[in-house]
């Protein structure tokens, strides 16, 4: 029985991971190179991703805190509203965003008047990344903050601390592993977002769009160097956090 179970587990793991090794074996590494456009895509993705992550942390943390601490009908509605963009197909979300933030829409027009174009610009790229990753971050950070025992926060209140100080001295340090995992998830979503970016911010091209363009123009083996950079940028943070959380649990 143990042999059958072990074989089955190995089979599923192999199914999941063996294709990933084609990164080392399947590419035309001798003739492949990173072009200037590829480099610009890397810079766009990393810069836009970092800006988006800062906005996501700043805007998502208070929302996650409120959702974790208020058990009211209004907070349930709030959580449902967060889930809608998360569960929506990204291409559909991209179309809705361009209809809202595009130059012909009132919101896009208002931003354009103050010099901020919300389509095909760095601002649009950041906006797309925020829409892709903010809901994931809020839901994961809310779960992490919800794990902090209410009694501990109550004690801090009776020790003369303001809500802001309690958050930074108690809630955030106690939830730091979960919040870090939420940030890692948000990073992966922001880095890998394709559907929204394709519609809202085709230019400047980030790594996913550039990869798609390269695949169309040069074929699969030629895009492996950029693919490697893409994976290196997207994967180490969540992998490291995942292993760290597992070690802490053991």
């Amino acid at each position: 029985m143990r042999i059958i179970t072990g074989s089955f587990v190995l089979l599923v793991l192999a199914f999941l991971t063996v294709p990933l090794f084609s990164l080392a074996t399947g590419g035309d590494w001798l003739h492949a190179s990173i072009s200037g456009d590829d480099l610009r895509a890397i810079v766009t993705s990393l810069t836009g991703g970092c800006i988006a992550l800062c906005v996501i942390f700043g805007a998502g943390m208070p929302l996650a805190w409120v959702l974790a601490h208020r058990q009211t009908r209004l907070s349930a509605i709030g959580e449902a509203l967060v889930l809608i963009p998360m569960l929506m197909p990204t291409l559909a979300l991209g179309i809705l965003l361009v209809a809202f933030y595009g130059p012909a829409a009132p919101m896009g027009e208002a931003f354009a008047r103050i010099g901020i174009m919300l389509t095909n610009s760095m601002a649009a790229f950041v906006l797309a990344a925020i829409y892709a990753a903010l809901p994931t971050y809020v839901i994961a950070a809310k779960a992490a903050l919800g794990e902090v025992p209410a009694a501990i926060e109550d004690v801090a209140r009776t020790l003369g601390q303001s809500e802001l100080r309690i958050f930074f001295r108690v809630s955030l340090p106690m939830a730091q592993r979960g919040v870090a995992a939420a940030l890692a998830l948000a990073w992966v979503r922001a880095m890998g977002e394709f559907g929204i970016v394709l519609i809202l911010a085709y230019f400047p091209q980030g790594m996913p769009v550039r990869l798609w363009v390269d695949v169309q123009e040069l074929g699969v083996p030629a895009v492996f160097p950029l693919l490697a950079v893409f994976l290196v940028a997207a994967l180490p943070l969540p992998l490291w956090l995942g292993l760290r959380a597992r070690r802490a649990a053991l």
Binding site: A151, I152, A156, T158, G160, M174
Partner: protein, 298 residues
């Protein structure tokens, strides 16, 4: 220093409480009777109206709050826990002095999550005392203690608080813990039903609810009056009130009988032998008159 408390809550439980706090006061009530809610309301953690401190936010109230299980900050050391409410360059020194006074100074470098229940309680006390509170609130202070050392550790806690001449209100469902207090307040069905010294209340409960709270297992109606007696005060004799045994069970070194007279009576026989009793057997019970309490009200 004594406090007169008058608080009214409507959620999560409807409660209207008026009572005094004198020295170490125990608030005795059944589980779910609203003891924790009342403590939280006093601490400003639940919306309520009343005096003192009504309307003040939790952080502005001069109270020290020790929730069930002490709730130390697990990411901080014991010393950082004790210094949590303090500010200024001497905060760690002050916190260390408090820990030393309570006999847990040697734990200063340990993490809050890695000490025993009794130690955690002392650290939580040091953390609460650091703010110089006027009143301490303790929620089920014996709950996180080992059964073997519970009474001793709790008595030390009461002594440590008493040495500071600081009034305290401890919520508990355990009559044995409540009996160690200076003043006892009984909470039942959303209101305070009796208060006094533990000796007064244990000897003279006023109502059925009070009698049950202070550990009277046998309550019955006789000639229009409600009476009660403790299980250990009933004697099995050759001639007395006839009873039929419904259940025989060993309770530690003692024997516990449930009988009908026809009222149900629980009898605790010290060092009783199970072999001498059987279900269905008729026995005679003696209820000493000086041990029977007449309750003033239902």
């Amino acid at each position: 220093m004594a406090f007169f408390i008058r608080y009214r809550l409507s959620a999560p439980i409807q409660l209207d409480a008026e009572f005094e706090i004198r020295g170490f006061t125990a608030l005795l009530g059944r589980s779910g009777s609203g003891k924790t809610s009342l403590l939280k309301a006093l601490a400003g953690l639940l919306p309520a109206s009343g005096t003192p401190w009504g309307g003040l936010p939790a952080r502005a109230r001069p109270i020290g709050y020790l929730p069930q299980g002490s709730a130390l900050f697990p990411h901080l050391t014991v010393l950082e826990n004790a210094a949590f409410a303090l500010a200024g360059p001497s905060r760690l020194g002050q916190a260390q002095n408090l820990l030393d006074d309570l006999g847990v100074g040697h734990l200063a470098a340990r993490k809050g999550a890695k000490i025993s229940g009794g130690e955690a309680q002392r650290v939580a006390l040091a953390r609460a005392l650091a703010r110089g509170p006027e009143l301490l609130l303790l929620d089920e202070p014996s709950a996180a203690l080992d059964a073997a050392t519970r009474d001793q550790v709790f008595a030390q806690l009461v002594e440590a608080i008493g040495a500071r001449n600081l009034p305290a209100l401890a919520a508990t469902h355990d009559p044995a813990i409540a009996s160690l207090a200076d003043w006892l307040v009984l909470l039942d069905e959303g209101k305070i039903i009796q208060q006094g010294t533990p000796r007064e209340l244990f000897n003279h409960p006023a109502t059925i609810g009070a009698a049950r709270l202070v550990g009277y297992q046998n309550i019955w109606e006789e000639n229009g009056k409600f009476c009660c007696i403790r299980a250990e005060d009933i004697e099995v004799v050759d001639s007395g009130r006839e009873a039929s045994i419904c259940s025989v069970r060993e309770q530690g070194a003692d024997l516990r009988l449930i009988c009908t007279t026809p009222e149900q009576m629980i009898v605790l026989i010290p060092n009783g032998e199970k072999s001498g009793f059987a279900v269905g057997q008729k026995i005679q019970l003696h209820l000493p008159a000086d041990k029977i309490r007449i309750l003033k009200a239902r």
